[in-house]
């Protein structure tokens, strides 16, 4: 069980994503996950060993390290990556549910189980909102825990058993700061991508809904654009009627 599991998970989601979603997955894979594994992990590997205080008092170093790093940057980073990737599972589960339902009823209930419409659209939008929410929460957590994204060279510590105010030196502070800024930049980029995808989907489906209503009003029949496109083999007349009423939109659904 390692990061390869996350990679497989995200590859599975790729199939049901929009174009922007796929760019998001590429950014997470390459600029966050790969950078974390090949570069960042090694910087924080010996952070406790290399944390040095100007004192021989046993226990002082441990206590000061614990005070200044309640949760290490690298662990927070890993948690952020996991939490941010997980909402995509909702989409995978929903598609699996749709496929199971089709199997159970033994008939084609949806045009395509992976197509983002109806209930799956809401699931997708919720996953986007959750992803963005987690990103923002972790960025705020980083900021609050460490008083910004700077890593100081020197911290002053006076917790028991340190006998007085002691100078403690953090190892590789500049390198850590560079990678923290890199993390913040990629997080912000991912937030922007998520918000664009959200706006794009809301805009696209509002336009679709509006056009459906306009066309159906002209034809003089009622429509309910919150239901998903359900095709039933038992009612070929109804299925045949749909393309006539919506000649423009029918072509959008074929893939």
């Amino acid at each position: 069980m390692s990061w390869g599991f996350l990679r497989d998970l995200l590859s599975g989601v790729n199939k049901y994503s929009t174009g922007i979603g796929r760019i998001w997955i590429a950014v997470v894979f390459i600029f966050r996950l790969l950078v974390y594994i090949v570069a960042a992990e090694n910087i924080w590997k010996y952070e406790h060993d290399e944390f040095e205080c100007n004192i021989k008092q046993p226990g002082c170093e441990n206590v000061c390290f614990d005070h200044f790093f309640p949760v290490s940057h690298i662990r927070l980073w890993a948690l952020q990556l996991i939490m941010v990737s997980t909402p995509s599972l909702l989409v995978v589960f929903h598609v699996a549910y749709r496929e199971n339902r089709e199997k159970h009823h033994n008939q084609k209930l949806y045009k395509s189980p992976g197509e983002i419409d109806g209930g799956l659209l809401y699931t997708y939008l919720i996953s986007l909102i959750l992803k963005t929410g987690f990103e923002i929460v972790f960025l705020v957590l980083f900021y609050k825990l460490y008083n910004g994204f700077k890593v100081p060279r020197l911290v002053k510590c006076d917790i028991r058993p340190c006998p007085n105010t002691v100078d403690c030196y953090i190892s590789k502070p500049t390198e850590k700061m560079i990678f923290l800024y890199f993390l913040v930049t990629t997080s912000c980029l991912c937030i922007v991508l998520n918000l664009s995808e959200l706006s794009y989907l809301i805009f696209k489906y509002s336009i679709k809904c509006y056009l459906k209503r306009v066309i159906k009003n002209r034809q003089g029949s009622k429509s309910d654009c919150h239901k998903s496109e359900i095709i039933s083999h038992n009612r070929p007349a109804a299925a045949g009627a749909v393309p006539k009423q919506l000649p423009v939109l029918a072509s959008e659904h074929t893939r």
Binding site: V38, Y46, T174, E175
Partner: protein, 262 residues
Amino acid sequence: MDWGALHTILGGVNKHSTSIGKIWLTVLFIFRIMILVVAAERVWGDEQDDFICNTLQPGCKNVCYDHFFPISHIRLWALQLIFVSTPALLVAMHVAYRRHEKKRQFRKGDQKCEYKDIEEIRKQRFRIEGSLWWTYTSSIFFRLVFEAVFMYAFYFMYDGFRMPRLMKCNAWPCPNTVDCFVSRPTEKTVFTVFMIAVSSICILLNVAELCYLLTKFFLRRSRKAANPKHHPNHENKEETKQNEMNELISDSCQNTVIGFSS
């Protein structure tokens, strides 16, 4: 998830690259990524532990190390390799988009579509022309820019490519000017020079590929202008044969790479 995953992602792009592009990819994986993983990481593995300063003052070593190595060579190379590999993704995305469009046409039953089945679309190799040419050329341009930026950053940060044995440090809390000794300076210099040399070779390959693409573009334009009724099929067959040969060469190289990469 590691460099092997990057290899999988970029391997797909390889099919649609020119011959020079395929050589570039092989050089990237064998002479840069593999060397980084199997050799360079070990050389820099103990860099802070074995960085010794001639003082007992606690904190002086940490501060001096941070002052002389704001970002370690090994991390800078890893970032360089990631950034330099990324523009190829633009080409991968463009190809995926084209394939998606062709699949849509095929499913619609478009009579213009000349494929027999979906598998053929999936395996098809796109020629580098039209919008794909622009994407491909932009990706090479960005690669060049990233290579140059990282090489300059390296030179600027470390005042050249040599690793000195001794550094003099007087940052606080060091009580006065203190001698600090770097571990394995000669080995580090050798690897640094090697990586810079291979970066330069990659830059030359990218420049050559750019020139090749531009030359091909202008020749094609002048041929179209001179002879608007030329037969595209004959040219296609010749180029397809050349492409197949290139693929055979690259596939044998790829098999060697796959054997090494983990």
